[in-house]
């Protein structure tokens, strides 16, 4: 029997579907944390610390940090997905060996992974969006577009995570990346400390951090305050993403195909 070969888009999507299936199997356990985390964060930092901070650029502190949480949650979820989880799939569960024995190629499989990381970015930032909406922290209907920025955040950080994963020989090494890279990015991206309060050197550095641009876009959409610099943020991400994705595919191919 001769069947039509699965096309490239379908091959990528079928890998995405595998991850979606695993995730939605435990929807309650998996779906809970993205709602709880921003609550804790807002309670502790926003409303707690906010007592001591006046306003930033004319907005109350909790209002200032809320949009950034959509970006940071997307960063963390996609990072964990394509570091620890991908490593487990690769080295312990040998899932990719199975996947690659089907018509799925390396590129299909890992574009599927990155797409999934983007989708998680989307869903997680949606969850945060719902929470901050309940707190009345969303000021513009454009806020509804924020999860799409979450998607771009997920794709960016998923790709970066995959590059890291391609080098890692021991799962504990991811700690270095998370604490050594992601945490500093969190603090230097303007989520809780406004960029113009940073020393000159760090401010320049922050421009080269993808999260900064995700945060800027989130803030513009959610507060409804658009600037020309928003275009720069969008262009920055649009240039960064293809590069990051290509690097990720190149590196993971080098790792897996011997």
């Amino acid at each position: 029997m001769k069947t039509a070969l699965p096309g490239c888009a379908w091959r990528i999507f079928s890998v995405f579907l595998r991850h979606k299936k695993c995730y939605t199997k435990h929807l309650f356990a998996n779906g809970f944390p993205p709602f709880i985390e921003p609550l804790l964060f807002l309670a502790a930092i926003g409303f707690g610390l906010g007592k001591y901070v006046d306003t930033i650029n004319g907005v109350p502190y909790s209002q200032y940090i809320a949009p950034g949480l959509l970006a940071s949650t997307a960063m963390y979820t996609s990072t964990f997905e394509l570091t620890y989880a991908a490593y487990i799939r690769m080295e312990f569960e040998k899932i990719y060996d199975a996947i690659l024995s089907t018509p799925i190629g390396i590129k299909d499989a890992f574009l599927g992974e990155i797409l999934w990381a983007g989708a998680k970015g989307f869903f997680f930032s949606s969850a945060v969006l719902i929470v901050i909406t309940l707190f009345g922290l969303v000021k513009s209907p454009f806020g509804l577009l924020a999860p799409f920025v979450g998607f771009l955040t997920g794709v960016s950080f998923g790709s970066m995570a995959l590059v890291v994963t391609s080098y890692v020989k021991d799962i504990n090494n991811f700690n270095f990346y998370i604490t050594g890279c992601c945490t500093p990015m969190f603090f230097l991206s303007g989520i809780i400390i406004p960029l113009d309060q940073l020393p000159e050197g760090l401010r320049v550095l922050s421009f080269f951090i993808p999260l900064t641009h995700c945060v800027n876009l989130m803030r513009e959409l959610i507060l409804g305050s658009f600037h020309m610099s928003g275009i720069i943020d969008l262009v920055w991400l649009m240039l960064f993403i293809p590069v990051a994705v290509s690097c990720a595919i190149y590196r993971i191919r080098k790792r897996l195909i011997v």
């Binding site: 699965p6 079928s14 018509p103 190629g105």
Partner: protein, 306 residues
Amino acid sequence: MTRTPVIEACGLTKQFNSFTAVDGIDFSIFDSECFGFLGPNGAGKTTTMKMIYCLSPRSSGELSIMGMDPERQPVAIKSMIGVVPQDNNLDPELTVAENLVVYSRFFGIPRKVYKERIEELLEFMSLDKKRNARIKELSGGMKRRLALVRALLNKPRILILDEPTTGLDPQVRHLIWEKLRQLKLSGVTMLLTTHYMEEASQICDRLVIMHEGKILLKGNPHQLVQEHTPNYVMEFSFNGCMVRPEKLAEKYACHIEIYGNRCFVYADSEPVLNQIRTDTKIDTRIIRTSNLEDLFLRLTGRGLHE
């Protein structure tokens, strides 16, 4: 009649850095035959299989699968191959049925088709009661059968079986052999690697014996045994035996092999061995026809290869 091979390899070589795992092997595999790869651990069997199912690019040589080059048309090739890998890599996060659904999608099999086929195959492998079990609840034999079900989802023209029965109990082994025979009758071309010589002689039409990346012998298992080993073997242990084996070889013009304190005397006729036994008062009951295992061990040595 000349048949065109389904798989053809010529000077096929695989190097990992400076180490040569597969060293310039040639073989042709024809439609609907079962072709065996025998060899001790590390012989290069799995590496050869991986080159065939496009997981590992060859370092040099030619390889053609159904007339296609694995480097250039992996999607087309892989869509016609089913793989039972050496290590089960079933998806532990999914149930039995979910594993099969997810895998069917990788092949782009439409939902209506795979739903039916999954049920059919689960029944074929007597796994239908385990449909909703988690992978870790399955026994080793069930996992292997599930891996076989998974490999059959796309109705493959070529089925690659890398040690399908290693580590299984005899019941499961016989069940799997039975299923493989049925599949062979249905016209599937099979590639089988195994450590069980009985399995190879029962199922394989032709086989190669590999060692250190090279093919030492190829042919029909029964013919190979006939051509390359004397027909009969007598086995005995040295303990308490006064005979000097070298003397025996000289006196009776037979072939002798010694491993540890176990001695194997090969001869073409049974009476010769009986004669030796009577003459030397060797205490053994084992005089038997020689088999593929004797040939295998003679070719690849009886020592460990690790």
